[in-house]
């Protein structure tokens, strides 16, 4: 007996980041068009943290955003969207439930491990269990996939999807899937955007502990300065390479989400009728350019091609300077957002 063919008309649009891309694509399907930057801003995704006590493959974690999944939950909370989220013990149950929801005509978001997604380029397939995709149909043994980082929809075999949904490790994703059950199409984007903006400004300016928020950038600069002495040349270069990857690799839209955030500020300037936000968007973009410049010089150092003046001290100075600019920027944003 052949399986029924079920393909939901789903408008896939490419995005820079998987979580915000899935939000934007799912919301458009449910009649609430929001751009990726708007999803990022409302979900107040921007952050900075450098956590020497939390290591992956022996390298301290540096992050330019809030925790995975938080953008989604902040976004849905601020717009009054109801979401059903489920995890499973048994892969077969997880696939049956997916089929059941698809049969209702609803596209389904889910967490996957990039290591087990055969359609992605090999170079990006590490064990990272936090990649969001949308499944919007099934033909025979293949599922139709909207992977936000890709330019078009793709397909995955059922057995491959099971592996990707049930990858073990950090975190154990257990087939987690989610789909909106109620999306108010008259949702108040203005209030939500303002709340998101205020939250980011607050997170960046007032989070306690030296490693979080804009002051965390200076904290990392202090560590970076001693990398070569403390870790030796090889490991120092690895740590530097890791920093570049966290900042620039697939998913950040450039400069550790700073450009996506700038795009949000620009949209918010119109939405909230607040022209100064446009100026701030351009300022954020200029700070983003400096992050890029830092990554460029760090890349030269990693490759052993750096000019003599590019040293760890030099990079640390540059990073500390970015930290001072972001501190001033978010303080100003914090003050300004209060008046809106």
């Amino acid at each position: 007996m052949s399986q029924p063919v079920r393909v939901i008309p789903f408008d896939h649009q490419q995005s820079a980041h998987c979580e915000t891309g899935v939000i934007s694509n799912l919301m458009r399907f449910h009649g609430l068009p929001v751009s990726e930057p708007m999803a990022f801003g409302i979900g107040s995704g921007l952050f900075f943290s450098h956590m020497p006590f939390l290591k992956m493959n022996g390298i301290p974690v540096t992050s330019y955003r809030i925790l995975p999944g938080w953008i989604f939950s902040r976004f849905t909370k601020r717009l009054g969207i109801s979401i059903r989220r489920v995890t499973f013990r048994d892969p077969r149950e997880a696939m049956d439930e997916l089929d059941r929801v698809l049969a209702q005509g609803l596209p389904v978001g889910m967490l996957t491990s990039v290591f087990y997604l055969p359609y992605l380029p090999k170079a990006f397939r590490f064990h990272f269990n936090g990649h969001n995709i949308v499944v919007f149909g099934k033909e025979g043994d293949e599922y139709l996939v909207s992977d936000p980082v890709m330019d078009g929809p793709t397909r995955i075999h059922r057995s491959a999807l099971i592996r990707a949904r049930f990858a073990k490790g950090m975190p154990n994703i257990k087939g987690r899937m989610y789909y909106p059950t109620r999306v108010p199409t008259d949702a108040d984007l203005r209030t939500a955007a303002l709340k998101g903006l205020r939250r980011t400004a607050r997170d960046m300016s007032t989070t306690p502990l030296p490693m979080f928020g804009s002051k965390g950038i200076g904290y990392l600069a202090g560590k970076l300065r001693h990398y070569e002495r403390r870790l030796g040349e090889k490991d120092a270069r690895l740590a530097l390479g890791n920093l570049i990857r966290m900042q620039e690799e697939i998913g950040t839209g450039g400069a550790g989400f700073r450009f996506i955030f700038a795009a949000f500020l620009m949209e918010a300037a119109k939405l909230l009728n607040a022209p100064p936000l446009k100026e701030m968007a351009l300022e954020m973009s200029r700070i983003g350019d400096q992050w890029r410049d830092l990554a460029y010089q760090a890349g030269r150092l990693c490759k052993g091609r750096a000019e003599a003046h590019i040293t760890y001290d030099h990079l640390a100075d540059k990073l500390a300077d970015i930290g001072r600019q972001e501190t001033a920027f978010f303080k100003q944003l914090h003050q300004f957002a209060k008046q809106l």
Binding site: A16, V149, M150, I244, E249, F259, M266, L282, C302, K303
Partner: protein
């Protein structure tokens, strides 16, 4: 970043499958999504990360050939796993997996466990029992 500054440094990291998008300022002073095939520092950092993995795989292969480790160790490294992660996928205690990483422990494996290891590590049972020479 302006639209015409979005880097296009192709190191075939994306295998020509698609381009990623970056946000950049266009002629009208607004942000738009601009496709990119890659950027030199990203390419450097990415290949550096892969070099580390390839070194580990090769070191494991040498140890298997010397008889210090079982072929399982090689296939585990190829899948970028450590004993703890492999144990989770196998639903076994890590200490058992560590035992199977030794040639003597591997020799004791029954067919059912060999099948499961092969499935988890994406190889056939025949492939699991050897390493490339």
């Amino acid at each position: 970043m302006k639209k015409d500054e979005v880097p296009q440094d192709d190191a075939n990291m994306l295998e020509g499958k698609f381009k990623v998008v970056k946000y950049a300022l266009n002629e009208n002073g607004e942000f738009e999504k601009v496709p990119s095939v890659g950027w030199e520092p990203e390419n450097v950092a990415l290949s550096q990360a892969w070099d580390v993995i390839h070194e580990r795989v090769e070191a494991a292969r040498q140890q298997v050939l010397k008889g210090d480790l079982s072929p399982l160790a090689y296939h585990m490294e190829k899948n970028m796993m450590d004993a703890a992660l492999l144990a989770q996928h196998m639903d076994l205690p890590a200490r058992k997996v560590k035992r199977h990483l030794e040639p003597a422990g591997f020799a004791e494996l029954d067919q059912a466990l060999l099948d499961r290891y092969a499935d988890v590590l994406l190889v056939t049972v025949d492939e699991l029992k050897q390493v490339p020479r």
